[in-house]
């Protein structure tokens, strides 16, 4: 089952309604604070990496030019002009990357920076509408006070500022902006609040195989009685599904032993745990789905209808 990746963070993610004009609730999951932070750190690392990389290439190019000039016995020193160009590159490059990296990517069709893509997030309007450029500008300009303001206070402190208390107060004050997402239900950062956006889960899943069509699930050797199938509900079925899709043998052995004990099943000689679980899953799902069609959803094993 290589095409199945369980999204652990998603299971615990907070869900929000997003009802399409067709009237279907998409049940969007919000990006968690941890995901948001890691996406940002990835982006920051890439931006700094680009700046450093280009600088190294530029300096190497200057040296190469200089040695080429001396090889041709031309008296040329990169000096002032070369350094000033580097300075201009840093100024403009840092300005563009600091303000434009996030904006540029979020304006694209996936509405996500590289960091967000890696983590599986994207930006969306809270009202489900069209993501506009002005909203993206607003959410990204506010990063000034969320990231750079606390950073400034930190650097001040590092520079051994005598007014330690003032710096500490400043840090606390600016920390409110940085930690804003932790204090509201929708995990909005200041920029999201100002722009009317939020950051949602956008994982790329592939269509996983249909478990009930596996050969072992159809084997005639396994026949279960209704009593044996009435032991569990939907929750247990989906835990079993997860175990089967992960294909972890140790976990399957534990679960199979557990189920056999619970339903009073004696394993025949040569019966594999995987085959047994496949067959039990197929039978249990058939039974629960048949009930579902009659309007009875049995949530879990404690749900006696």
């Amino acid at each position: 089952m290589t095409d199945y990746t369980p999204h652990l963070s998603e299971k615990t993610s907070i869900q929000r309604q997003l009802i399409t004009p067709e009237g279907v609730d998409l049940r969007i999951g919000l990006g968690s604070a941890g995901q948001r932070a890691s996406a940002f750190l990835i982006d920051a690392a890439i931006v700094i990496g680009i700046m450093i990389g280009v600088t190294i290439v530029y300096v190497l190019a200057l040296f190469a030019l200089k040695s080429a000039a001396s090889a041709l016995s031309i008296n040329w020193v990169p000096g002032q002009v070369g350094l000033q160009l580097l300075q201009a590159f840093w100024l403009l490059g840092f300005f563009m990357l600091r303000n434009g990296w996030f904006l540029g990517f979020e304006l694209g069709p996936r509405a996500a920076t590289l960091g967000k893509r890696i983590v599986g997030l994207q930006v969306a309007m809270r009202n489900g509408g069209r993501l506009s450029a002005d909203a993206l500008i607003a959410r990204n300009l506010m990063r000034e006070i969320e990231v750079f303001l606390p950073l400034t206070f930190l650097l001040y402190n590092a520079a051994a500022n005598p007014d330690g208390w003032i710096v500490l107060l400043g840090l606390l004050w600016s920390g409110i902006f940085a930690l804003f997402p932790l204090f509201n239900r929708d995990r909005l950062r200041v920029g999201d609040l100002v722009a009317g956006t939020f950051v949602v889960q956008a994982p790329r899943r592939r269509l996983a195989a249909e478990l009930t069509e596996r050969r072992s699930a159809l084997a005639p050797a396994f026949v279960f009685s209704p009593e044996q199938l009435d032991v569990y509900g939907v929750k247990e079925l989906q835990v079993l599904e997860d175990v089967l899709r992960r294909n972890a043998l140790a976990a399957q052995r534990v679960v199979a032993t557990r189920i056999r004990g619970k339903i009073g099943w004696t394993a025949r000689p040569g019966e594999s745990d995987g085959d047994f679980l496949d067959a039990y899953y197929a039978a249990l799902r058939t039974r629960l789905e048949a009930k579902l069609l009659l309007g009875q959803r049995r949530r879990d094993k404690h749900d006696r209808g």
Binding site: A135, E144, I145, V194, A195, P203, F224
Partner: protein, 341 residues
């Protein structure tokens, strides 16, 4: 009685098998749309997209009521969400958005925020006035408003000749390439303007302080030159780019005040709704502010070094004031009426 496990196949499995080709097709279509522009898509695909989206969405509704396959439900939810953003999130062409920005959105935002702009300008002028007045009482106040590294020798101890010299071969001396000087000025000013805007979120108070302190710096340097009888010359030196730069600074302050004010007094809408509307309007204005500061950077970094005649400098200042004033505040009824329709 026993339940056969190899019974006729599961209804939900058949449901899936009958539709899974459509889902995969939608998935492939979405993938292509993420890497290439819509215009590259064939007509057939363009027509298929909304059809496949609606089919998948209805499959999701049905699946939620009939299948217990968690992986399938997750897949359909993710696919529908992606398709939803593509189908309902399509944006107009870039060229149209850009022309709309210059024709309506930017001047519209500036007009809508005229009160905030007036407040920012007032605070700036107030700062300048205070600094000028304080300098008159005691020139040492100068050091309070302008840090030594920014003054670069232009302080109360400087001679008239030294001060005059700065005006006519000023900052260019340390920068051989004027374009680099302009770049430096632009990025520096733009970052401060963005900062002033973002600080507006703290109910506008830090933005107000920034406006006043910027005004103070101007007032102090003006007072210094006025004492040496160089007020008129300094005026030209500052105004050539200052009209654009100070105007942009005040607009950035106005954008900050707008979000700070809305956060405190959201009015009739809910606070998040009011904030979203205010933030987007302010952001439009900020995009314009950055453009204005790029113009100011060129005027200061290049224009001022090349134009050393006082009257010509005032001329450029006057023209830029006229252009910005006309662009922002003179209503264009024909175009506005057309847009309203």
């Amino acid at each position: 009685m026993t339940v056969q496990s190899f019974q006729p196949e599961l209804k939900s499995a058949r449901f899936r098998r009958e539709r899974e080709d459509d889902w995969r097709r939608l998935e492939a279509l979405l993938k292509r749309l993420e890497t290439q522009p819509v215009s590259k898509l064939s007509d057939e695909d363009l027509i298929a997209l909304p059809v496949l989206y609606r089919a998948t969405l209805s499959a999701l509704s049905v699946a939620r009521e009939t299948t217990l396959d968690k992986a399938l439900l997750d897949y359909l939810e993710g696919l529908c969400t992606r398709a939803y953003f593509v189908v309902y999130g399509a944006r107009p062409r870039l060229s149209r958005r850009v022309s709309r920005f210059f024709a309506q959105d930017w001047p519209g935002a500036a007009r809508a925020l005229w009160r905030e702009t007036a407040l920012a300008s007032l605070l700036f002028t107030l700062g300048a006035g205070i600094a000028f007045w304080l300098f008159g009482r005691d020139p040492d106040w100068f050091y309070a408003f302008i840090p030594a590294q920014m003054a670069q020798g232009r302080d109360p101890s400087a001679t008239t000749d030294a001060l005059r010299k700065v005006l006519y071969d000023g900052g260019g001396a340390q920068h051989d390439i004027l374009a680099i000087f302009a770049t430096f000025l632009f990025t520096h000013n733009a970052q401060i303007a963005i900062f002033a805007f973002a600080l507006g979120f703290a109910f506008g108070a830090p933005t107000a302080l920034l406006m006043i302190s910027n005004g103070c710096a101007l007032g102090a340097i003006f007072a210094l030159y006025a004492v040496h009888g160089l007020g008129f010359q300094l005026g030209g030196w500052l105004a050539i780019h200052g009209v654009t730069e100070i105007f942009a600074t005040c607009l950035a302050g106005a954008a900050g005040f707008h979000i700070g004010w809305t956060l405190a007094f959201p009015g009739e809408k809910t606070r998040p709704e009011a904030m979203a509307a205010a933030g987007r309007r302010a952001a439009t204005l900020m995009a314009g502010v950055v453009l204005m500061l790029a113009v100011a950077g060129v005027l200061e970094g290049i224009g001022r070094q090349l134009i050393t005649n006082d009257l010509a400098r005032y001329g450029v200042a006057l023209i830029s004031a006229g252009v910005w004033g006309y662009y922002f505040y003179v209503p264009r009824q024909r175009r506005d009426a057309k847009a309203a329709r």
